[in-house]
Structure formats: structure tokens, C-alpha cells
Amino acid sequence: MSRILALAEKELLQIRRDHVLPRLIVLLPSLMLFLFGYAINFTLKNIPVAVHDAAQDRISKTLLWELTKEGTFRLALQAQSREEVVAALDRGRARVGLVVPAGALERVRRGESVGLEIYVDGTDPNFAFQAQAALRRVIQEVNARILVGRALAGERVLPPLSPEIHTLYNPENKTAWFMIPGILGLVLTAFTVLLTALAIVREAESRMMESLLASPLRPYEMVLGKVLPNLFIAFGVALLVLALGHFVFGVPVRGSLSLLLLAMFLFVLGSLAAGVLISTVARTQVQAVFGTYAYVLPTIVLSGFVFPIEGMPRLFQALSYLVPARYLIEVLRGVMLKGVGLQVVWPHLLALALFSALVLLLASARFQRQVAV
């Protein structure tokens, strides 16, 4: 027993003496609480809606008012045509589309039903279900209000507004279709950052660094040499996930494959650089693992991988723009499920490129400084 205590006390002493680990041990759970406690909210709010209101009458006004009054939906775009509505969904500017046909009020007066065209972004089946349910509730509400008036007038009672809901992109509500692009993003993050940070720290820990520094190997050669194998591994794993997703789970690749690869490449570049950055801070492999965890955690929560960004408080929505995986996952879902092209995803690609360039600069500056003792 006393021997066990001796060993246990020594372990604690070593952890305390570590410069980075104790801080991470406190920081990580706090970060987790903060992220999972505040950011994740499965009840939807602020769902952006694109509306083409061809009626512009009392019926459509009432409908829009009912739709947005509780904060579940918000009007993101007043479209001029059905095509524009669908395009807004393609671009991710809206996640629900609504088309109110012309002459809605006349039809209701004549006792005819009005067909509402509704488009729901089905990328995330969970989101699609909730959005549809919320939409039906709103329409029922409007119907009830119309009917109350007419019933009092002693007229025939038929629900006037009849929604025709189209689930786009993932009509069969397959969860895998939603998850696999996200998993791709996660795999690319975790593998590249962790492998790179570990590879460099391992070199330093094994005392090989001194010999490498005394050799004609330039610092940039050292970084590239360390990073390239991880690039290959990460891409190999990503392609495997992609292939499994496609052939086993039937996830479509509707857009261009090369666009997918380009986005993945830009993203991986930044992640590798982030790995180098972590390695300049971490002295030991344990620190590198924890450091990577601190990097990957916000990525999981804030990238929209499973947790809808729309449901998050404003602060976290803003923070999510700092998470590069968000852009990658947008591109992956857009290209794979929606089949959109460069003209739609270019802002995301630009964001990825900027992020990668920034981290690359930062990492090489820090690495240079560290190597030039």
C-alpha cells in the first residue's frame, strides 16, 4: 500500500511539475462545459426562410406574421420567383423556402384551398423533421384563424391552406447523408493536427532534434518532411470515408469531386499548420495530445458537424466563423448533397485559404524562432 502511495504521489508531483498539463487539465473540462452547456441547443430558432410571396394579400401577410412571430423562423430573403427561393436554399442562405401563389385571398374567399409550396433543407434529417412540424403548426394556426371567421359566417369548412412540402437534398431523411460529410471534416481535423503535433514532438523528445539541426536540413524542409506523410495519410483516410459513405451508405456526390478535393486540401493545409503550431508549444507527447484535444473540441461543437449552428446563442454563432471546419463541412455538404458548384462555395473556399495561410505563417514563424535557438 505504501509503495502504491509512493508511486501515486510521484505521479502527481510529475503532473504538477509539467508546465502545460495542469493548465490543460483545468481548461479542458471548463471548455467542454462552456461549449456543450451553452452552444448546443437542439430546439431550433431563427431558421432562415426565403419567401416568394406572389399573393401579397391579407392571407400571405398573416401567414408570414405567424411564421416569424415566435422566433422559430426568420425572414431571410424576399424572393421574386420560385427559382430564387430554391437557389437561396442551395446557397445555404435559407433553410426553408415558401412560395405563396398569386390570388390566395380570392381563392380562400371562393372556398378553394390554396397550395403552399414549401421547401425544406433536408441535409440534416433532424432539422427537417423539426422544421416541418413547426411549419405545419404555423399553417394550422393560420387555417384556424381563417376558419373561425368563416364558421361564424356559417360557411363550408375546409382547411384553406394546404402545404405541399418538398424535402430537398436528402428526401429519404438518411442520417448518414448528413453525418458522413461531417465525419470527413472531423477525420481530416483530428488526423492531421494530432499526427503532425505528435510527429514533431516525438522527434524532440527522442533527442534527435539536435542531430537534425546540425545537419544541412533547413527548417522548412523539416516541417514539410514531417507534414507530407500526414497529408497523405489524412487524404487516404478521407478518401476511404468518402468511398465507404458513397458505396455503403449511398451518400451521393452530386457536385464535382475535384471541388471536394480542393476544399479538403485547403483545409488539411491549415490543420497541418495547426499541428506544427501545437508542437511548438507542447514539450511532450502527452501535452501534444491534450493540446490537440483543446483544438478539436471546439471544432466538433462549433463546426455544425452535428449540432445546428442556428440553435446557438449569438456569441457562439459568431465564434463558429473562427472554426475552419465549419467552412469545410459547408462545402462538403453543399457539393455532395446539394450538388452546388464553385459559384456557390467560393466564399467558403476563400475562408479556408485565408485560415490556412494565416496558421501557416504563424506556425512557420514560431517554428523558425524555436529552431534558431
Binding site: S206, M208, S211, L213, S215, V373
Partner: protein, 270 residues
């Protein structure tokens, strides 16, 4: 380090002798371009290490104090990797050559981590010279080895010098220092003396007397006027004393060892 100037000639094994913390490793790290000096220049093969670090690095071989080899790679893979860092085109030939030169051929496929200490050190040395450097820095190449392995390593060091390399080797073993062509005594970042082992001993004999007092007690010997240093040795006491020291009865003059020289010079430096 304080104004250190040393000259190591091609074909020469030059020893840097000093206690732990004297600055041996620091000096080697500066010369190999791993560490930047606060001020001043380091010249290797006539090249300024600070200005042209990569030209210098291509010409030197450096065996670090802690064996730098990949334990999960085989002997051959370790050598090939090092050779490729310096001379990628001839790497295969160089690695094969080093395997033969250092007697490592039978272990070519063995993982470095599975080698015994002596053989691992042999590999570390082979790695440092696989690219046939003109200048070789060896930082305590025999620390922790048994006497037989140490002899083997020193044979190899002289083999490299015979090839024409200028070898700078650090050590704190006095018996190893005897194996060097020339030596520098380093203490607290300064060079106390430079010369062949014989020259250093002659220098010491000019400045002090080295004696053995059989049957003498240490306390009695230390209290004698003119005694600089005394320590027990076998059945008596060894003494280093000033030139004008009056020998007692039974005292014997002895040939100073390098350790004696070192003890005298550090005493003077303090």
C-alpha cells in the same frame, strides 16, 4: 564561453577535456551551428558558422552526447536516412560503406533499439561520419560504455582521423585524453592550456612538483607548507606542491598524470 580559440588539423584527434559544466558541449553546439554565440564568430574550415551555417553543416559530422538514432529503425535504415540528409545521390553507397567500415554489416537488419550499448554507440558514430565529413565533432562518445567497447570506439575514432578528418572529441575521462594527439583543457568556459599530452605534463612539471608520500596521513600532508593539493592514494598520499616545496623523508617524485595536470591548472585558475 570566453574567447575560446582552438585549431584542429586534418588527421588529428583533438581532445576537449574538462569537467561537467566546463562548456564542452556548448562549444561543440556553437561550432556545429546548432547554437548561436552571444557574440563573436565561430570558424570551421575557414567558414563563418553564423554566416554560412548550411555550408558548414554539410561539411561536418556531429555525434551528440545522447545517442541520436531511431530505435524503431534498423541499423541500415538509420544510416541510410542520415546519408540522405547530406548526400542523397550517393546515400546507398555511403551507407553500405559505413556498415562495412564500422563492422555493422551483420546487424544491418537489426533494429537500433535491440543493439547492446556498445554497438548502439558504434552505430551513432557511424551515423555521424556516414557522409565522410571533413570535420567531426564527438560529444562524449564513450560515456557509459564498458572498457572493451570504449577501446573499440577509440579505434574507430582514429580510423576516421586517418581518413583525413579533423576530429574534435570531448571527454572527461583522463585515460581517454591520453589517446588524443592534442588536448585543450577547458574549465569554466575558458581554455587553460593546449598541447600534446606530453607537452601538458612537461608544462605541469615546470610549475609544480608531483609527489607520493607513502604511509602519510592525509591531514598531515595537507598541512605541510607549499602543498597545493593532496589526496589519498593506496598506501599513502599523493601531493601536488609548489616548486620550492621541501620534500619530507620518504617522499617520491612521480610522473604527473593528465589528471594531475588538470588538478594543478584548475587550482591555478581558481
Amino acid at each position: 564561453m570566453d574567447r575560446v580559440s582552438l585549431e584542429v588539423r586534418p588527421g588529428e584527434v583533438f581532445g576537449l577535456l574538462g569537467p561537467n559544466g566546463a562548456g564542452k558541449t556548448t562549444l561543440v553546439r556553437i561550432l556545429s551551428g546548432v547554437l548561436r554565440p552571444d557574440e563573436g564568430r565561430a570558424l570551421v574550415v575557414g567558414l563563418d558558422v553564423g554566416r554560412e551555417p548550411y555550408r558548414v553543416k554539410a561539411l561536418i559530422g556531429y555525434a551528440t552526447q545522447e545517442q541520436s538514432l531511431y530505435r524503431d529503425l534498423s541499423v541500415e535504415e538509420n544510416l541510410l536516412f542520415r546519408a540522405r540528409l547530406y548526400r542523397p545521390k550517393e546515400a546507398k553507397i555511403l551507407a553500405a560503406e559505413a556498415l562495412a567500415r564500422f563492422g555493422l554489416a551483420p546487424y544491418a537488419k537489426t533494429l537500433a533499439g535491440h543493439l547492446s550499448g556498445g554497438w548502439r554507440q558504434r552505430l551513432a558514430l557511424a551515423q555521424a561520419v556516414v557522409h565522410r565529413p571533413q570535420v567531426l565533432f564527438l560529444d562524449e562518445p564513450t560515456t557509459g560504455l564498458d572498457p572493451l567497447s570504449r577501446r573499440g570506439i577509440w579505434g574507430l575514432i582514429h580510423q576516421e582521423a586517418a581518413r583525413g578528418a579533423a576530429v574534435l572529441v570531448t571527454t572527461h575521462y583522463m585515460d581517454e585524453a591520453e589517446r588524443c594527439h592534442r588536448l585543450a583543457l577547458l574549465f569554466a568556459g575558458r581554455v587553460l592550456a593546449v598541447g600534446t599530452p606530453q607537452e601538458l605534463k612537461a608544462l605541469a612539471r615546470e610549475r609544480a612538483r608531483f609527489l607520493f608520500a607513502p604511509g602519510f596521513a592525509l591531514e598531515a600532508a595537507t598541512s605541510l607548507p607549499g602543498v597545493l593539493e593532496a589526496w589519498p592514494s593506496g598506501e599513502g598520499v599523493r601531493l601536488i606542491a609548489r616548486k620550492d616545496f621541501q620534500m619530507g623523508v620518504g617522499f617520491q617524485e612521480v610522473e604527473p598524470s593528465l589528471e594531475d595536470v588538470f588538478a594543478l591548472l584548475t587550482k591555478e585558475a581558481l
